[in-house]
């Protein structure tokens, strides 16, 4: 079958098997490998993308179901070379280790801040509670999203490359 959708602002039309999962469509057909595949049972959330402005688990949605809709993935968080404040927050606050759950966490984090610009720690924990991170213990993810909240709603921040001072 043929499916047409908007992915990260660009309309795409592809011939697919009707059973193709959205996660595999994004990864294998479009080559957008930032979205990951983790459990098949909607438990882990490493596959979270936005479909029409809502976070969804793309491993339990057919690509065909996204026909006519607008999909946003992690690859679209950075705009014009400027990182989203959520991306910057994850780097500043060590919100990632292996980086496998991170795209899904950041997509949820951005959605939360768009709807609740100043969330409490508990509100952040609830927002990401459908997603699993095996590395961080979540505290630094919470801090990362809080860091982004302090940068103001949706306003991109300048990507600083500062990493370290001079050797001692």
């Amino acid at each position: 079958m043929q499916v047409t959708m908007t992915v990260n602002g660009t309309e795409v039309t592809e011939d697919i098997e009707p059973r193709t999962l959205l996660v595999h469509f994004l990864r294998d057909t479009l080559g957008l490998t930032g979205t990951h595949w983790g459990c098949d049972t909607s438990n882990c959330g490493v596959c979270v993308v936005w479909v029409d402005e809502q976070p969804v688990k793309s491993c339990t949605m057919l690509a065909a179901m996204a026909g006519g809709k607008a999909v946003r993935t992690v690859e679209d968080l950075e705009r014009d070379g400027v990182l989203d404040s959520v991306q910057q927050g994850f780097m500043e606050c060590h919100g990632l280790q292996c980086g496998y759950c991170t795209p899904g966490m950041m997509m949820t984090g951005r959605w939360l801040l768009d709807h609740n610009p100043d969330p409490t720690e508990q509100e952040i924990r609830e927002a990401i509670s459908g997603q699993i991170c095996r590395c961080t213990g979540y505290s630094t993810i919470v801090r990362s999203i809080r860091w982004a909240a302090t940068q103001g709603q949706g306003s991109p921040v300048t990507h600083t490359t500062e990493t370290a001072g001079t050797p001692s």
């Binding site: 193709t20 294998d28 080559g31 490998t33 930032g34 990951h36 595949w37 983790g38 459990c39 098949d40 049972t41 438990n43 882990c44 993935t73 992690v74 690859e75 990182l83 991306q87 910057q88 994850f90 780097m91 500043e92 606050c93 060590h94 990632l96 280790q97 292996c98 980086g99 496998y100 991170t102 795209p103 950041m106 720690e121 952040i124 924990r125 609830e126 509670s129 459908g130 997603q131 699993i132 991170c133 095996r134 590395c135 961080t136 213990g137 979540y138 505290s139 630094t140 919470v142 801090r143 809080r146 860091w147 302090t150 500062e162 990493t163 370290a164 001072g165 001079t166 050797p167 001692s168």
Partner: protein, 805 residues
Amino acid sequence: MTATPETTTRPDRQRRQTEFEDNDQKPVGHGRMLRKEDPRLVRGRGRFVDDVQLPGMLHLAILRSPVAHARIVSIDTSAAQAHPKVKLVVTGEMLAEKGLAWMPTLSNDVQAVLATDKVRFQGQEVAFVVAEDRYSARDALELIDVEYDELPAVVDARRALDPSMPVIRDDLEGRTDNHLFDWETGDAEATEAVFARADVVVTEDIVYPRVHPAPMETAAAVADYDRVDGKLTLWSTSQAPHAHRTLYAIVAGLPEHKIRVIAPDIGGGFGGKVPIYPGYVCAIVASLLLGVPVKWAEDRTENLTSGSFARDYIMRGEIAATKEGKILAIRTHVLADHGAFNGQASPSKYPAGFFGVFTGSYDIEAAYAKVTAVYTNKAPGGVAYACSFRITEAVHLVERLVTSLALEMGIDQAELRLRNLIKPEQFPYETKTGWVYDSGNYEATLRESMRIAGYEELLAEREEKRARGELMGIGVSFFTEAVGAGPRKNMDILGLGMADGCELRIHPTGKAVVRLSVKTQGQGHETTFAQIVAEEIGIPPEDIDVVHGDTDNTPFGLGTYGSRSTPVSGAAAALVARKVRDKAQLIASSMLEVSVADLEWTKGSFHVKGDPSAAVTIQDIAMRAHGAGDLPDGMEGGLEAQICYNPENLTYPNGAYICVVDVDRGTGEVKVRRFIAVDDCGTRINPMIIEGQVHGGLVDGLGMALMEIIEFDESGNCLGGSFMDYLIPTALECPDWETGFTVTPSPHHPIGAKGVGESATVGSPPAFVNAVVDALHPLGIRNIDMPMTPSRVWDAIQGHPRPPV
């Protein structure tokens, strides 16, 4: 530097480590530095194995046994072969013809790549299909018809040695039962003598259930065999690419120089990506047969049912003490369930890993342990989930026993530990089982955790709540790990010494590349190792690239597991930088026309003693080393070096953990309210990364303590085969972790670092359990097994505690 914003202003959660070196704000080398890995990972630009797409690549799927124990009567693959998109179907029989049906495990056992005679656990690999796409490969699995003659399954390790049990490993010559090994350490007679004169003896039966590392990225491989040059390139989810390459050379008979293993970004490992899985070998075989790239990526059910498990130790522990609370001796008998193949990755001479550290952090008179290991009809594995070679089990045993003793004697848990901890002046300390602990300041570490926790206030709060009938508990644990395996005189895996290489090249313009034998799965090697080299050679870490995870481009070494990267490879990185600096000093003496002895090293440059203006930087020296100017007589050009580091001893990280829980008497639900972790991992390189490692271990510990378990029914069906059944903590179950530290450098490590990757996984489970036991003790409860699910806790409250299967 950018400070991490605190999410809370509660004073008890502020870091207050004024007594100890705080390098949070110290510029690099050692200090908080944002990770070099992150810019690609936050953009979704990491490259994980399943992201690899090669032209003409085919997809492999594995047919797995639906039963735990059965003879294979027949396999009919004709329908699968007739599938229009299928390119290849392979069974065990076909592999046997090529001598590839069995492969060695890391413990000198053999494991079936594809079953030939019998299947021995549910989920075992039986056949594979290669097709044009991943869905078609799965479709074709449904078309393979296997006839099984089912056998009784050995599920309960306690019954594995009964004469009535079927022999699982009848493939091994002369095998008449399911016994794997007996191993003992310590002195049984001396220990018995001490127990005989002790005032108090406490015994506990403690089950450390089977759990699974379950990294978010499952195992995967892309094999690409080039028939023209005879070279195999394998992208795989490997924590130990060099060890894997050598084993593939042995298994597949390929010349080792014609194998290149690439471990790209890895989505978490936790020990689960140390073994070689049959899927990797299947992908290699398929690419060899077809001459095109072949990808295998397991799904979550395959990961949980067939991938490397962890723990599964059934322990009886005994602790003896005087009436004053001086611990005299500890002994234990362990029944270890190793599954159907002995696939654990311990050093050869340590069949029970480093379980020998079960004497813990205490100065005692005698100790003895005996471990009996058996085969069962379960998936193989054994050393995984950040267990530090069975130290997790050892620490759990001793820390549960100490709290049981405290409760029995009516002595506070922390107080009892303070009375018995090894004292600073006793280091290096040789334990009664022969381990030489390198350094520690245990009392200071425990007191630091008590200070952060506000221990006295917590005790008072607990008493108030008890008076009201509420179930609040405080759990204490103090762990000592043995990491950084290991000295080659007594540690190897399949004959490969556990050393690690490191190569450092300084380019003419003073930038550098350092090449490691170890491999990050999220620990941040690209950052930490740049910092180690930066500290030693004076080049900013942003000017140092770290290359790892590619056997063609890195020196040999055994890889990242058992918290060995910083203790072994970190030492190699520091020493290779010093070796380069030594050469740089010779060049500097020539450039400045003074003797070597007249030079001083500071901040990346050599200057003449007493004259800081007469100086050359490491960048100046690098250009001279590669340039046309004179070099000291007889010196080769260039500025680079390589070493292979053989550690003198293990390193011994340690820490004190305090957990605070509230237990709902009506539902049995355990709420972890606070958790305080104070770690001493010696010299700290990047405090941000260390904190992250500790946090990650704590959530592992919380998961094992409260919800994670791989159980089986009586037929050997795995009951934890998806994330619907195998529960992993989310942000809602976790408290905001509170951390602190002390710094007691390792005396034999070049920079004093000890390793921290598994500390919290090792140290935290007994703190969680001790907290729940403390909460329930007024009800007469002294032991409860993990996972402490609401139903198990509720049963215990009702007076019917039950161990896990």
